[in-house]
Symmetry: C2
Subunit: 371 residues, 2 copies
């Protein structure tokens, strides 16, 4: 990936010029403490720097990465041409302000009101003519198009998670608690050299009807459906997958709902491809669930982008305004949730390709009965 920072900075500089800006600030330099996930992902994508507090300046003639003293060494190891590395001293803001020229974009979604105000003051005190301009999502729009290296990192994280499902399932579900399954899965992910990309969800029976239940002391019993949502984080990139398993033989109505979600998920997969609106892909899956009479029981969107962040653009849902492009990596994850009874969600992760999609999830989707 050693060529990536130069290319990415070049593409970003072009976008900056197109927007009528002279420079763009990328990331968020927070001290003490860490930036939010969006700012961290932006600066990492651009420069390769993996620290949690960094700010880059990109423009026609600017390629600068500011970090703080904690990260001097890491920046030296990770960040090279075309970026100039600067370790910000205690006088961070004056140093930053002195480097700004003309119309300078900042990301309104990742910049706090307080940091903006401090930067404005520093610019004024420094006597610079720089003018700060709010923009949103310039870097994250470029981050959508994953290159081959990024696609492979995500695919590898997905394969690792698939392996962990199998390892844990081999020991059975019935008689174990949700929390035991979730902890064992996280431990296996770590043994294989990754981290969980988000807190694993294992939700049995009626808990499966809560889309983001926390694994608890609920014991998995014969006859339960178990919603299990899990991903791995490898080399900075996330995977995301959900399967719903039957602990012991399921009843007929459980099978029916499962097959409904399975049909909706297959239709959603079939629908995604370059040029497809997120709203339309969502509607393809949603209409199947609606026609079966369960529209009210599918309370979230069809899917979301996955990459350096576990949730990133684009979104697919009834109010989505995004259109899929080649290189997007998105989840396809319809669900039906019956309060007090059970839930079913089936989720694959796919890369949008020139002629459709490539599925990164290898686990079967037929209802699997586990003892």
């Amino acid at each position: 990936m050693s060529h990536a920072p130069a290319e990415r900075a070049e593409r970003l500089a072009e976008l900056v010029a197109e927007r009528g800006l002279d420079q763009l600030l990328v990331g968020d330099l927070v001290r003490p403490g860490d930036s939010g996930p969006g700012a961290i992902a932006d600066s990492r994508w651009l420069t390769g720097f993996t620290g949690t507090s960094a700010l880059a300046i990109v423009g026609a003639e600017s390629r600068v990465l500011l970090t703080d003293f904690r990260y001097t060494d890491r920046a030296e190891r990770e960040v090279g041409e075309p970026f100039e590395r600067v370790t910000a001293s205690a006088r961070l803001l004056p140093e930053l302000a002195a480097r700004l020229r003309g119309r300078v974009g900042f990301d309104a979604a990742t910049t706090s009101v307080a940091n903006l105000k401090r930067l404005e003051q520093a610019i004024e005190e420094g006597g610079s003519d720089a003018e700060l301009v709010a923009v949103e999502g310039l870097v994250s729009s470029l981050r959508r198009r994953k290159d081959e290296t990024e696609q492979e990192a995500i695919a590898q994280a997905a394969r690792l998670a698939d392996e962990v499902y199998e390892l844990v399932l081999d020991q059975g579900l019935i008689g174990r608690t949700e929390r035991e399954i979730a902890r064992t899965a996280a431990a296996r992910i770590r043994e294989l050299g990754a981290e969980p990309s988000f807190p694993t969800i294992v939700a049995a029976g009626e808990n499966g009807a809560l889309p983001h239940a926390e694994p608890g002391e609920r014991e998995i019993r014969d006859g339960d459906l178990v919603v299990w949502d899990m991903g791995a984080l490898l080399d900075g990139y996330c995977s995301d997958c959900t399967r719903t398993f039957a602990a012991g033989e399921p009843s007929e109505d459980v099978r029916e709902i499962y097959q409904l979600v399975q049909r909706a998920q297959a239709a959603g997969l079939e629908a995604v491809g370059p040029g497809v609106d997120g709203r339309d892909a969502d509607e393809v899956a949603r209409s199947i669930i609606r026609d079966a009479g369960y529209e009210e029981n599918f309370g979230h969107g069809l899917g979301h982008g996955v990459g350096l962040e576990i949730h990133e653009p684009p979104r697919m849902g009834p109010r989505s305004e995004d259109t899929l492009i080649e290189g997007d990596v998105v989840s396809v994850e319809p669900g039906v949730y019956l309060p007090g009874r059970f839930g079913v969600r089936i989720e694959d992760l796919v890369v949008i390709t020139a002629d459709g999609h490539r599925n990164l999830s290898s686990l079967p989707k037929e209802l699997r009965v586990v003892g």
Copy 2:
């Protein structure tokens, strides 16, 4: 802790009134994705809600917590009187705007420029007379004074981490890599029912001179000093501790630097208490290091607050403007870092009490030689 939300909301409402505000927004309701750590800690402290996206409204007559559909059930379990729970629908902003009255404070440090703009628009469109006012750190100023339950949670996290140091040290240091030690420690923390409160630092030899080195494949060799910075997260509360161990017999100059830092740390501990300025406590420890000729090698502050966040107010350092109060929980952690050679840091966590401090770290501070 069932009484805490009512008391805390009451104290906050008084502070809100003192600042000439009618209401205060606490937290940050982000969809999709999670809020920053400061916003999450604020809403958790106030309401007991542990989800990662929530916004509370507090004023003389307002006690409202807004969450999104993912968290309806969790909010029901965790949040009770005096808070009214509202699950925000897709029309979050109009619903929020309709509840705002008069001068409404928002935290400039945890609110993004984009979210502020959206909220301003919603207020205008809703025809409300609410006026948004930037404030900073109202809730985090109250969070400083830890009550007994909070102090005990932090003390318990600290004891757990102390136990993990011993468990891992029992297996020796020499011949193992930094990463092995860090991973084993994290696994032990999890086995004991907690999570690491931040990524464990294990830095051997020359890596110890980098205050925030990432544990890598560097093998610990006979004669290395090993800086090991670790904490546990238990019931939402963090601990933080650093010890520097000798892997095999250290040389005389290593012992000298160690004893220097040990003296500075003891003096720093001696200095902290209610009414003491963070700058003065820092200077007590720093002057000892300065007098020995190593001022340039102590590049960070003496300590920071620890609680729901691993870094929170107050700060103790050369530019600190904070004064310690009873109930503050702070780290006391001077260090000396000799580039290319080694580093020493010794860190305890203490509660500021009416007449001084109570140390939550039980590990000895004499230089310990481990095989």
